[in-house]
Amino acid sequence: MRRLLPLGALVLGALLPLAFEQYKLYVASLTLVYLILAIGLNLTLGYAGQISLGHAAFMALGSYAVAILGQRGLPFEVGLAVGAALGFFWGLVVGFPALKVKHHYLAMVTLGFNIIVFLVLRNWESLTGGSFGISEIARPAWGPISFKSDRAYYLYMLGWAAVVVTSAYWILTSRWGRAFRAIRENEMRAEVVGVSLRNYKLMAFAIGAAYAGIGGALFAPLLSYIDPGAYTLDRSIQFLMMVVMGGLGRFEGPFIGAVLVTVLPEILRASEGLYLIIYALAVILMMLFMPKGLVALWDRALGN
């Protein structure tokens, strides 16, 4: 019962936006994209303890794969698969420095990667359209079934979100998940129980980045337009905030974090000019009083 209740609430909550008007539905769709990205970053940072400030760059790989391959007439799913594969590959590449450097040094390396990807997207005009970006990105269609409408596309994204959530759950409850946590909790001891730091750190980066690729792929057709400005360091920091505010290394964390970071500014918008200040204050207070994230509230409510 204790397991079924949150699951039921989750399914209900996920289907609720279908009743929303256009703008709210768009915000809900965006939340799904962020959820997928936050799950990826939570795997890399929350579970394996490897900081990444380059998650927006991995997201960009997915978005541009869909946009560029779509222009060449390939189906959306091919773009998504390529985007996930590119994310996985570049996650491995960026993971290599993690074998040598830690903490803030690693933050600098991943931040550098984000900037490089941004510059490539802006300057490789023949492929990416440069600062003008790519427009008219088509939503997926399976023969006669089209996911063109906002509602249909939301459902389509929900399907992928379910795939990501399930697979992440499956990975994190396996021996890999335990090895990731071992590295985070006591790296030296992890090595002295046979954990290959190289293999697991690379996998933590690659899987987190592959999820970012999937999230990016789903993001591209949402507004049917992308440009490099959507994949800056700001965006990476936003993902970091979701994971930290939700609760690092907790499976529920990204759900709470993604909803909070997307919905809170929307609610605060009513306060007009003040909303950024209130938002920033809320974040600071939350970190001061709930360093373990909002998931700690949930724990307290359940009494454990």
């Binding site: 890999w176 090595e191 290959s196």
Partner: protein
């Protein structure tokens, strides 16, 4: 042939020589003691053997194979487990998870560890060991909530989990109450009788002298003596190293 053979092992930290040309062999089924004053290089020796530190020179051979300079995880997978002077556990994991973690990487492939979810056999083994060590009642507790003595036992249990061929114990009795000391000594002797090979660093002389049939003495990074407890206790070099002149 010794199971574990250390030849001329040397470790420098800048200009400081923590170990200089230390050699020793550990026979299968042995219970070897390593003693020496503080700072004599005992833990550095363990660190160099288990891959936590890379030796500056010399060789470590395990079952006839050169394992010098292998990473710590590779050494562990070959069958050398250890405990630590300062307890090293996974604080946020449960006691049982700590035990399972100590076993899961020993065999199999990386992909197999993702795909194979079945863990009944390991869980049984872990539970059995925890019962043997008398901490089965806290197996679902978070490891950080255990008392110092219980954590020490967990660290010891983790070293047994992978069914290693050699276990290096770094001051297993330090800070442990007398009753627990008797328990641990009993466990070590019983496991040794079952064929487990131990190398023990320990400051409690009474225990070392009764536990080990052979003792190696280190002082200032060098091996200064070796022999039976009685021989070592009478060696003037050893007395000199401990009490000075």
């Amino acid at each position: 042939m010794p199971l574990l053979e250390i030849r001329d092992l040397t470790k420098h930290f800048f200009h400081f020589s923590a170990l200089s040309t230390v050699s020793l062999g550990v026979e299968p089924g042995e219970l070897l003691g390593i003693i020496g004053p503080n700072g004599s290089g005992k833990t550095t020796l363990f660190n160099c053997v288990t891959g936590v530190l890379r030796p500056s020179g010399g060789q470590v051979r395990f079952k006839g194979e050169d394992i010098t300079g292998l990473s710590a995880d590779a050494v562990y997978r070959r069958g050398i487990a250890r405990t630590f002077q300062l307890i090293q556990i996974f604080p946020e994991m449960t006691v049982l998870e700590n035990m399972l973690m100590a076993a899961q990487e020993r065999k199999g492939t990386l992909l197999g560890r993702l795909l194979r979810r079945e863990e009944a056999e390991e869980t049984d083994r872990a539970t059995g060991l925890l019962e043997y060590l008398g901490i089965a009642s806290v197996k679902e507790d978070r490891a950080s909530n255990l008392s110092y003595g219980q954590q020490k036992l967990l660290d010891f249990g983790m070293a047994l989990m992978p069914e290693p061929e050699v276990i290096l114990l770094d001051e297993p009795l330090a800070g442990v109450n007398p009753t627990m000391i008797n328990n641990l000594v009993g466990h070590i002797l019983a496991l040794n009788a079952q064929g487990y090979t131990f190398v023990i660093i320990e400051h409690n002389m009474e225990v070392v002298m009764s536990l080990c049939r052979r003792i190696v003495v280190l002082s200032q990074g060098e091996r200064i003596a070796e022999g039976t407890p009685a021989e070592v206790a009478d060696n003037p070099l050893v007395l000199d190293a401990y009490f000075g002149r």
